[in-house]
Symmetry: C2
Subunit: 373 residues, 2 copies
């Protein structure tokens, strides 16, 4: 069965929506945040720890799994679910983002992208068909069309050609797709330009995908305003009965803004990446647990948090772990940060039910930015 | 309450003993293996994962906790149990081993040892009283007397002076000890020499400690024969109603040999250290999961193992994790290896009950060394 989106309720004062994704691995409520298991593993966490955070869909990177261990090994293992022992839904990206952000000496043609592996410099060639073939073998529940991810600095002219090629690539990928249990998403690109986002969205939707992603946001150098524009210019052209996925976004305020603008799902390495650098999300802004001031702070990261780290450990202990280089410190912070974003989406769902998401945003931002600004 | 050892049964054909340690955090069956939480954390594992391996007493290093975060912080946190959130028994070493193995420019006097911190080179001074004071504050269930740990190459003459000083240090430490919930152990030294081990054991026992450790084994360059001699020469002089602890030993065969010679408890970083290098204990010898030959081996580390790693993951997945540098790989192997040693002690207890420990040893070694030799 291919995963299906069900729209449950629209919030009265915004474009926010409450929904459900029906998948072969159970239902998932949206809005939802997906943690990232880059190389078929969540950094420093077991899958049980991730589940305990309330996570449902997790993301694995096609590019990384393709390079190591290779999609054929994962295929022979019985797919990603079996390989990494996750009995929940998995989403794979197309590899496009990594090719454009990690690889060097890219050579983009109509056929696909030639580039050098970021691991050993070997020559690689990724095409829309190849990306889909890999994802078919990974056997994720949600696959993404192969798209070009232009930098935030790309001109209108460049983007116009790029989105047209991405549309042709989407059509090729859709044709190549061959996995009866895997939903395939189209990706809307077009930078911060209204005409391009509109064109990309309308043309992508014409191909009738199982869901729609908004890509090309959260790139280096992109402003928040441009991100919100990209969403605002794309959403009106996406069908209500399909799920909407804002790729690579995990800042708490961006998640709130995205939901209010009509986005259903998000993913980001942010919660685990900042954790490894000793940072934790809190309602009062980010805190840096490396800081000496937490040396004798025997309170949890957040007093009212229900995550494993907060229920069992103090800031002083986590600071100690970070200070001596024990990886458990980063793992505990990852758990807290993933739970923080998951909890945030739970509250957003509640706010949608209660039609008070704008008040929720105001209160959240007031408290969150009090310290950070 | 001070932890108390209860001798339950002696095996008929060896010196092996079945016992129980009654502690403030519950009873523990012996023989037992204790995993090491060097810096108040088990490398890469949560305390729940360690518990799931069947571990009971865990070890924390006084030297490391003294340097970072400092015993006063742990004291103010409510002791090690609260600091690291472990509701089971904890044993602390004296710091002696680390001073003699990690520190540079040691200056040993009657008073104690002056040395430079292995972290920042600052001048430190550890005395028997200081070691005990730190351990009192850490509030472990089992504390060790401060002893000199001479290298395996030390001469008979050197060792003779050393064990006499260690005895004087033990007496000073005992006098300084001041924690009504903490058992204090004396440590038998003397290298591989019968006369020295005998003298050290008799004189240490005269001081009436709550338990006795056999130290100065498992040093760099020490032969297995010398280790077994050190045990054989010490055990006859240790009282039957006190627990016996062989320090720093965790090789499966050494554990079996130690138990047969009358040892009750063991500790070692081996299971976690070799795990981080990709190695796993199995009944058929150690295996190196980094090896390419496991690339498509979709079986568990050991088919009949009941550990979390074996119940949920394949060799191929663990090899992938090691290959791409995901720390989960080392964590899964640590879990397996700790479980392996814990299971081994469970089987040894069963063999003591059945009076067939010599047959158990023979069968274990035959299979274990078939591959390794």
């Amino acid at each position: 069965m291919i995963a299906k989106y069900e729209l449950i309720k629209e919030e009265k004062n915004s474009k926010a929506r409450l929904g459900k994704l029906h998948t072969n691995y159970g239902d998932c409520d949206t809005p939802m945040f997906m943690p990232v298991g880059t190389r078929a593993a969540l950094k420093g966490l077991t899958i049980e720890q991730v589940k305990e955070c309330g996570s449902r869909v997790i993301l694995a990177n096609t590019y990384h799994c393709w390079l190591r261990p290779g999609e054929d090994i994962i295929d022979r293992a019985g797919g990603l679910h079996k390989f990494m022992n996750y009995d929940g839904p998995i989403l794979t990206d197309s590899g496009g983002y990594q090719v454009f952000s990690l690889a060097k000496s890219k050579d983009i043609s109509e056929e696909g992208v030639k580039f050098k592996s970021h691991i050993d410099g070997s020559n690689l060639f990724l095409t829309p068909e190849k990306s889909i073939e890999i994802q078919n073998k990974l056997d994720s529940d949600f696959a993404m069309s192969f798209d070009e991810c232009p930098p935030a600095s790309a001109s209108h002219e460049y983007l116009e050609n790029s989105i047209k090629r991405t549309l042709r690539w989407a059509a090729r990928g859709k044709k190549a797709h061959n996995n009866p249990n895997q939903a395939l998403f189209g990706i809307v690109q077009g930078g911060p330009y209204e005409d391009l986002r509109k064109y990309s969205a309308i043309e992508t939707v014409k191909m009738d995908f199982d869901g729609y992603s908004i890509g090309g946001v959260a790139n280096d150098g992109e402003s928040k305003e441009d991100m919100y524009k990209a969403i605002d210019y794309s959403i009106p052209y996406l069908p209500k009965d399909k799920v909407r996925y804002l790729m690579g976004v995990g800042d708490p305020i961006d998640i709130i803004e995205g939901v209010i603008r009509g986005v259903d799902i998000f993913d980001c390495v942010l919660p685990t990446r900042i954790a490894r650098h000793g940072q934790a999300f809190t309602r009062d802004g980010k805190i840096h647990l490396n800081n000496n001031k937490f040396k004798e702070d025997f309170t949890p990261i957040e007093a009212d948090c229900d995550c494993y780290a907060c229920k069992n450990y103090t800031r002083a202990y986590i600071r100690h772990l970070l200070n001596v280089g024990e990886s458990l410190g980063g793992s505990l912070l990852s758990i807290h940060n993933i739970r923080f974003l998951t909890k945030l989406t739970e509250e957003l769902r509640e706010a949608i039910k209660n039609d008070n998401i704008l008040e929720y945003r105001e209160e959240f931002i007031k408290r969150y930015e009090k310290v950070n600004k």
